[in-house]
Amino acid sequence: MHKFDTNVQYLKYKVLREVARLAWADRLLEGAIDIPKTIVPGKIPTMRCCVYKERAILAERVKLAMGSSEQHNSNVIEVIDIACDECPVGGYEVTDACRGCLAHRCADACKRGAITFDSHQKASIDKSKCVECGACAKVCPYTAITNRNRPCENACKVKAISMNESKAASIDNKKCIACGACVYQCPFGAISDKSFILNVIDMIKKSDSNRKYKVYAVVAPSISSQFTYAKLGQVISGIQELGFFTVVEAALGADMVAYAESKELVEKGLLTSSCCPAFVDYIKKQFPALEKYISHNLSPMATIAKYIKETDPGSKVVFIGPCTAKKMEFHKPEVRPFVDSVITFEELQALFDSKDLDITTLEEGVLDNASYFGRIFARSGGLADAVRQGLKEHGYEDFDYKPVSCDGIEECRKNLLRLLKNVPAGNFIEGMACVGGCIGGAGCLTHGEKNKDEVDRYGREAYEKNISDAIRVLK
């Protein structure tokens, strides 16, 4: 078994792998219905109350792996209703750890007067007054107040998740930015991103070994922190073994973006970044007044895909990355002409194994298109560093550059609120919806503390040391 952070990811991977296996063999139509039993063969349940429920949920996962269970739902993030029913919904509650102390810091901290005490001085929360602010929990010296919120709701910092009548999670598509935080955080795997692996398999098969048209893989720089059981060059060879014509770094698109964005910044004086589709979507949905500040550059993915389509008309471009929001981005009318499909690293692993491809046995391919600066886009702060370099290479050294790197959607929110009040903390707002940047993306196989170092190391290994050299022929 390859390394995943959780068993939820592993289960999702197994479904994707089986779906892909059947698709390669042209047996999906008749075989899909048997996938749940292939994965849960016995009579003893290991995840749910009985194997029948386990298989019923797996059948839903199969639908998601095949694109969607709800055709009418345009969101790429979907709730599997029958997998979601039992989480507590109490919010802040006082537990048995309350010692009935004298200080009553909880009551002092509560601005709503929601805390009352019984005859033993033990606290309780009046739910009719409580606004779930959490101030009481922060001050309790015994940490006796806990938040019995659902992990999905906790994960969703844009507050797009609420509970429906049947106590299942429900996503408000008007607020959801498809970042995938809930997908990664739900301990039961009840929320999942739709997969487009079938489109990719179909594209590869119909290309007739890249003779009819070429299928390009564009890989995100965060790949350097993934597939750590193999060498990066072997991952590249593996992608080609799957049937892709060649592999190109999205980081080269990032170089192009950094170069253009630094110029745009000087012209406009104030910009918010456009690389992270979830951040852009967040501004459009929650801060429409700030839309004018969004950089007009396409994302690195779309920028490099556009270049590929210009140099090789008729080709197909598949983005492989850590991101579920990219699945939303590529459907946008301004990106759709350039990007044909998007899959995650999780899905790439499933594709490798669907073909029984042990990438550790492959020779190392090469991947080197971008500069150091394009590559470090994968982590928080990288984009701001790259724009600084872009300013330098353009000769705008006297521009008073004040970047603000917002690490995660909560920091994005804080800085957007400041901008709304006309007191921005800087003149270039780098927004990354995932904490840590793209390496924290929901589609990563693993999320580790060392991932940032891996990205920086990969950046330093780039043959090109500055942006202008990397984009020499593209200018």
Partner: protein
């Protein structure tokens, strides 16, 4: 005339950027911007013999050392008169 230089990973590491840079210089120096179009592409399927360069429909192998003579014999001479 169109010169397409492979900027795929393998050719890039063998010096395609230096070739592009030199060709840009030579084209500018000789005032051939209107006659010669310089472009890049990812992989021509000839990685073993990189740096791969297409001169219109003809596939060639160049290196940063041979770019000057290539320009002189194939580009400059073809665009005179």
């Amino acid at each position: 005339m169109k010169i397409t230089v492979c900027i795929g990973s393998s050719c890039h590491l063998k010096g395609s950027r230096q070739i592009v840079e030199r060709l840009q210089e030579l084209i500018a120096k000789n005032g051939l911007q209107d006659q010669v179009e310089l472009a890049g592409t990812f992989c021509m399927g000839n990685c073993q013999n990189g740096v791969s360069v297409m001169l219109d429909e003809e596939l060639l192998s160049l290196s940063p050392e041979t770019v000057d003579s290539f320009f002189e014999t194939r580009v400059f001479s073809a665009n005179q008169g």
